[in-house]
């Protein structure tokens, strides 16, 4: 089961890789719920930040990959830290900014160490109790899989549309790109819908 080449998953043999996906998601959930409490002590949050870096070590990587996960957020994090430092003191700045860092880094770690398909299977299993509320877990899985499949399909269409645009020396406006992309995607959806029916999804 390797959908990995599409996702952020990085293969490995570390203890974190070998943990069942359900357990990892549970730890993450507990961590998120506990953050309401841990946020009261800045030193505890600081310790958790250090622990999150160590968790990346344990998974076989270093502080660089840890930072890669946080880099897109650095401006917002800096802004939050500065505002808190000015309005409520540096302890609050450490606690609140640090909590975001811990949660984002740990959630990213789950993603990095768990293959996409394993997560889909876990979600389908977790959705089982929802059957009584009219949720069909198998349907959920089907949606996720068809969705995963459509990403490269539409990306391929986008590439073709872009090439056609260049070939015709059309303008590079967003609209001139997106209209044909959406129209071709809708046609592709018609064909895919027909294929789903032919292969037994007729409701």
């Amino acid at each position: 089961m390797r959908t990995s080449s599409l996702g952020l998953f990085r293969p490995g043999q570390s203890p974190i890789h070998r943990l069942p996906p359900g357990t990892k998601l549970l730890v993450l959930l507990v961590l998120g719920a506990a953050s309401v409490v841990t946020q009261r002590w800045w030193w505890l949050v600081a310790a958790l930040v250090v622990a999150s870096v160590l968790a990346y070590r344990l998974a076989g990587w270093g502080v660089r990959l840890w930072w890669t996960q946080l880099r897109p957020l650095w401006m917002l994090l800096a802004f939050t830290a500065v505002v808190h430092a000015l309005t409520s003191g540096w302890q609050r700045a450490v606690a609140d900014t640090g909590t975001i860092v811990v949660l984002v880094a740990c959630a990213a770690l789950v993603t990095l160490t768990t293959p996409t398909t394993a997560l889909v299977d876990t979600i389908v299993r977790m959705a089982a109790p929802l059957t009584r509320f009219g949720v069909d877990p198998e349907r959920v899985g089907l949606f996720l899989m068809v969705g995963i499949r459509c990403v490269p399909l539409v990306a391929g269409l986008a590439e073709q549309v872009r090439e056609a645009q260049i070939a015709r020396r059309a303008t590079t406006s967003t609209r001139a790109f997106v209209v044909p992309l959406v129209v071709r995607s809708l046609r592709e959806a018609d064909a895919l819908g027909e294929a789903l029916v032919a292969r037994g999804i007729d409701d």
Binding site: T97, I100, A107, I148, C150, S185, L192
Partner: protein
């Protein structure tokens, strides 16, 4: 292929057909593909304009409320599963605890609301009502969610959260306009997605 289109227009019973599944999946992928477009930096703001929320508005304006909402929910699920589909190649559950989480949660809601309102207005798709609907939900509701999410994650004061979000507004205003024009173009080249006002009146009377 044509019979599928017919089945939808002839049979307005609300259930998810195989074609709906395909459209939902394809629109989730379109939102993803738009995130791959290079970000544009305007000199007045440090925040890049990405095309991602463009996909949210477009889904609503093109395929109707139920399918649009479902497509963006699926998009978020794929992001959560670890596909690097957010602008800048981000993904994974980490983004759901980051300060911009409010915007993400808004995706299905906004797409659903825009789709619902667009269906109410009916075919043919017109620019002015489209612009009003897309601005009201695509910016109004989107930022309401984004603002609350920002405060919840960063514990910033309401004014500080507004300051943090303001730079995004310039790009989003631009996106709403382009998305509306795009939706008009799509409806022109692929008719039949929206039921016309007259057809709806007839169906309602029957």
């Amino acid at each position: 292929m044509f019979n599928m289109i017919l089945r939808v227009t002839e049979n307005p019973v609300r259930r998810t057909t195989a074609r709906d599944i395909a459209i939902i999946a394809v629109f989730a992928a379109i939102t993803a593909a738009l995130g791959l477009l290079p970000a544009i930096y305007l000199p007045v703001s440090p925040v890049p304009i990405t095309a991602q929320t463009f996909g949210v508005i477009l889904a609503g304006a093109v395929v109707g409320g139920r399918r649009a909402g479902a497509s963006q929910l699926l998009f978020l699920a794929l992001v959560a599963l670890g596909l690097p589909l957010l602008a800048g190649g981000r993904g994974g559950i980490g983004v759901f605890v980051s300060p911009t989480v409010g915007f993400l949660i808004a995706f299905p809601t906004v797409a659903g609301l825009i789709g619902w309102a667009t269906e109410r207005v009916g075919a043919p798709y017109r620019l002015l009502p489209g612009l009003v609907v897309n601005t009201a939900f695509g910016i109004g509701v989107m930022y309401l969610f984004g603002w609350v999410g920002m405060m919840a994650t960063t514990h910033l004061a309401p004014w500080a959260a507004i300051v943090a979000l303001a730079p995004f507004l310039i790009g989003d205003a631009l996106k709403v306009v382009i998305a509306t024009l795009t939706a008009k173009g799509v409806h022109a080249s692929y008719p039949g997605l929206l039921r016309s006002r007259t057809a709806r009146a007839v169906a309602g009377a029957a």
